[in-house]
């Protein structure tokens, strides 16, 4: 029984999946994203994110910080797997497709909210493309460390949608409404300098240095009393539950519209060089 418990504990302490992996070193959980081409979040990634969220109860007992980063050169995360979303919506009847989308959103919300509410101090170490759902993953973290080539965007309006992984309530939590309107309604991308100017990025670092600096920051966090840090975080960082639920409702209402299907089709079938440009 002891051996089984030990083996279970070991399998929670580290995990190597197809889309992500994690390990605990010196009290810091490092969650690495590595699903080519750019960590697009579909059902595979969601399943492994859920495994991570389930493991957090155990992991939090021996850690003081969590770093989320990408191992891929292409960037942190380009967002939802639009190809999978489009292909699934084509194969099933519309009402089922919307239910499927709602189910997916509720699952990703539960997972991201679990990370958002973790007593650990969480750090997103980002580089390159940090778009849509990828931006939303970064936003659940307490600190965002961006390298100079990081680029952020909520491009959902280009597809006739709004961010669906909790991005709007979390962005509102962190930034002024005028900035949120600019980003959402123009769908434009912006760089790390801008991210720091608007108060989103806590540090900007040289290209390729985000993970190293995140580790140094996490080491600093380890000097503080865990209980105090957790209480301070809970005080200062509310989880916007009502707005998160409303965001799912609005997303699902919009998803069934023909304009969205046309936007997804255009993105997925694009053969030109510019699908990520507006």
């Amino acid at each position: 029984m002891k051996m089984l418990a030990k083996s279970l504990a070991a399998s929670v302490r580290q995990f190597k999946g197809q889309a992500l992996s994690w390990a605990v070193t010196n009290g810091v959980i490092e969650l690495a994203l590595h699903r080519a081409p750019c960590n697009e979040i579909g059902s595979l990634s969601l399943g492994e994110f859920e495994q991570f969220a389930s493991a957090l109860d155990e992991l939090e007992k021996e850690a003081h910080a969590l770093i989320i980063f990408s191992e891929l050169k292409s960037g942190f995360c380009a967002g939802a797997d639009l190809r999978e979303l489009y292909e699934r919506s084509q194969t099933i009847e519309k009402a089922h497709a919307v239910r499927g989308v709602r189910d997916f959103l509720e699952r990703i919300h539960r997972t991201l909210s679990r990370i958002d509410a973790s007593p650990l101090t969480t750090i997103a170490a980002v580089h390159g493309v940090t778009f849509g759902g990828g931006f939303e993953v970064a936003l659940v973290c307490d600190l965002l460390i961006a390298d100079k080539m990081a680029r952020f965007c909520f491009p959902e309006l280009r597809l006739g949608l709004i961010p669906g992984f909790g991005g709007i309530p979390r962005l509102k939590r962190d930034l002024g409404n005028a900035v949120v309107r600019d980003l959402l309604l123009t769908g434009r991308s912006f760089n790390a300098t801008k991210a720091q100017q608007i108060g989103l990025a806590s540090q900007i670092v040289s290209e390729g240095e985000a993970l190293r600096v995140a580790r140094a920051t996490a080491a600093q966090l380890g000097k503080f009393d865990r209980h105090t840090a957790a209480e301070a975080k809970r005080f200062i960082k509310p989880i916007p539950q009502d707005e998160l639920r409303r965001e799912i409702d609005i997303f699902c209402e919009l998803f069934s519209r023909p304009a969205v299907q046309a936007g997804l089709k255009k993105f997925v079938e694009s053969t030109d060089a510019q699908p990520y440009l507006p």
């Binding site: 990520y276 440009l277 507006p278």
Partner: protein, 80 residues
């Protein structure tokens, strides 16, 4: 204040260095997607590089219909 020609030259130099393409193979009126062999994700990298270098903010919707270095330089110049 940068002249338009100097802006264009700097863009060509930066693009060549970032994407490891020989500078002499790039001309102002080249389609930068083809000349650099890049896709839209990499074009965003180029945009970030240029914004950092020139210390400007260039909304990516300004790049709609822009595919040559000369026009890109004009967009950057308008923000200096």
């Amino acid at each position: 204040m940068e002249t338009a020609q100097r802006t264009l030259d700097e863009i060509l130099n930066l693009a060549a260095a970032h994407f490891k393409v020989p500078r002499e193979k790039l001309s102002p009126d080249d389609d930068f997607f083809k000349a650099l062999g890049i896709d839209s994700l990499q074009a965003l990298d180029l945009l970030t590089k240029l914004e950092n270098h020139f210390r400007v903010e260039l909304p990516d919707y300004e790049l709609q219909g822009v595919s040559d270095f000369r026009t890109l330089a004009g967009k950057i110049q308008a923000r200096l």
